[in-house]
C-alpha cells in the first residue's frame, strides 16, 4: 500500500514539476511528431548511404589514391569512365559475370520451379523435405565457400568421388577449382546449390496463390494435367518466376564473397567477376578514382535492374 502511494506521489510530482514540456509535446502536430521520429533515420541514411555515394561519384572524376591521400587531387573529367568502357580486360570480366549470372539464374529458375511444383503436391513428409531443401540458403556464404573448397579438393573432396562414381574417371584426374574450363562451372554449381531453395520459396508462393476453382473448372472441361500445367500453372506463376529471376540476377551481378573464397578470381582470370576486378583495382592497385568510376558503372547497372525488379514486384502485387 505504501509502495503504491509512493509511486503515485512520484508520478504526480513528475507531472506537476514539468507541465510545460508535456503541454508543449501535446501541442505538436502529427506531422511534426512524425518528422521528429524519422529525423534520426534520415540523418543516419544520409551519413552512411547518400554521402558515400556522392563522394564516390566525386572521386570517380579525380586521380585520388587512398594510399597517397596527401598527393593533390586532380580533376580528370570522364577519363576513367572512358578508360573502363574501352578496356578489353574489363569487358572480359563482364563476360565472366554474364556467364555466371545467366547460368545460375537459368539453373536456379528451372530447379527452383520444379522443386516448388513437387512440394506443392503436399505428399507425406513434404514439410520435412521443405526444411531440408531450405538448409543451404540459411548458411553464410563464407561457410559455403569454405566447405565447398573442401568438397572440390581433388584428393579428399567428396565431389570428385561422386563424379568418379558416375563417370568412371579417376577422382584425382580433374580439379574443379584449378581447371580453366571447369572453374567457371564450379562457382555456378555452388551458387545454384545455395540459392535454388530461395527461388523455390518464391515459386511456391506463386503456385499457392493460384485459386483451386480454376483447376476445378479445367477438370470440368476435361483438360489434361499437361494442358492444366501449360495453360494455368505456368502463366499464373510466371510473374513470381520473373521476380525470382530478377532478384537472383541482381544479386549474382554483384556476387563477391563466395567467388572470392572459392577461386579468388582464378585460375588466371577465368572466374574474375566484375566485383573481384573492382576489389583488385581498389585495394590491391589502390586506384581509388578508377575503381570509384567502375563502382558507379556497376551501381547504375544494378539500379537500372532494380527499377525493373520494382516494376515486376508491382505487377505481382496488383494480382
Amino acid at each position: 500500500m505504501n509502495e503504491l502511494s509512493a509511486s503515485s506521489r512520484i508520478t504526480y510530482r513528475a507531472v506537476m514539476v514539468r507541465p510545460g514540456v508535456a503541454r508543449r509535446i501535446r501541442g505538436l502536430s502529427d506531422k511534426t511528431l512524425a518528422w521528429l521520429f524519422i529525423t534520426p533515420t534520415i540523418v543516419l541514411l544520409l551519413a552512411i548511404n547518400i554521402f558515400p555515394l556522392l563522394w564516390t561519384i566525386y572521386l570517380s572524376f579525380t586521380n585520388y589514391r587512398a594510399n597517397r591521400a596527401n598527393v593533390p587531387t586532380i580533376w580528370l573529367g570522364a577519363d576513367w569512365y572512358q578508360s573502363i568502357l574501352t578496356d578489353p580486360d574489363i569487358w572480359a570480366a563482364m563476360q565472366v559475370t554474364a556467364h555466371f549470372v545467366i547460368w545460375t539464374v537459368v539453373i536456379e529458375a528451372v530447379l527452383g520451379f520444379g522443386l516448388a511444383y513437387l512440394i506443392d503436391k503436399k505428399f507425406r513428409g513434404h514439410g520435412l523435405w521443405t526444411t531440408i531443401i531450405l538448409l543451404p540458403m540459411m548458411l553464410s556464404p563464407a561457410v559455403v565457400g569454405n566447405f565447398w573448397t573442401f568438397l572440390y579438393q581433388p584428393q579428399i573432396g567428396l565431389f570428385n568421388y561422386v563424379v568418379a562414381f558416375f563417370t568412371g574417371r579417376a577422382a584425382s584426374s580433374f580439379q574443379m577449382l584449378g581447371d580453366v574450363t571447369l572453374s567457371p562451372w564450379a562457382i555456378v554449381i555452388v551458387d545454384a546449390w545455395m540459392w535454388t531453395p530461395y527461388v523455390m520459396l518464391i515459386c511456391l508462393a506463386g503456385l499457392r496463390s493460384i485459386p483451386d476453382y480454376i483447376y476445378e473448372a479445367a477438370e470440368v472441361d476435361r483438360a489434361s494435367k499437361w494442358r492444366q500445367f501449360w495453360s494455368i500453372t505456368l502463366p499464373m506463376s510466371l510473374p513470381f518466376i520473373m521476380l525470382a529471376v530478377l532478384f537472383r540476377g541482381i544479386e549474382n551481378f554483384k556476387m563477391f564473397d563466395m567467388v572470392n573464397l572459392l577461386t579468388g578470381g582464378g585460375p588466371g582470370s577465368t572466374t574474375e567477376v566484375a566485383s573481384i576486378t573492382l576489389k583488385r583495382a581498389a585495394f590491391e592497385s589502390w586506384r581509388t578514382g578508377y575503381s570509384s568510376a567502375f563502382a558507379i558503372i556497376l551501381f547504375v547497372t544494378v539500379f537500372g535492374l532494380a527499377n525493373i525488379y520494382v516494376k515486376a514486384l508491382n505487377k505481382v502485387k496488383s494480382r
Binding site: 568502357l85 569487358w91 563482364m94 558503372i297 547497372t301 537500372g304 535492374l305 527499377n307 516494376k311
Partner: protein
Amino acid sequence: MSVDATPSIARRGLADRILRRGPLEAAATTIIAAGVVMLMQPFSLTLYSWSFAMTLFGTVMFTIVSKVRE
C-alpha cells in the same frame, strides 16, 4: 466552333495515349535491359562502350516517368 474542337480532342487523345506512365515505363525498362545486354555481350567492344550511357539514360528516364500520372 465544332471544326476547331475536333482536332484538339484528337490531339489530347494522342498525347494521353503516349504520355502515360505504363508505355513510358515499358520503354525505359527496355532501354535499361538493352544497356545491360550491351554491357555483358561478347560480340562488340563498341556496343560495350555505349552500354553505360544506355543504362544511365534508361534509369534516368524510368525515374522521371515513374512520376508521370497513370
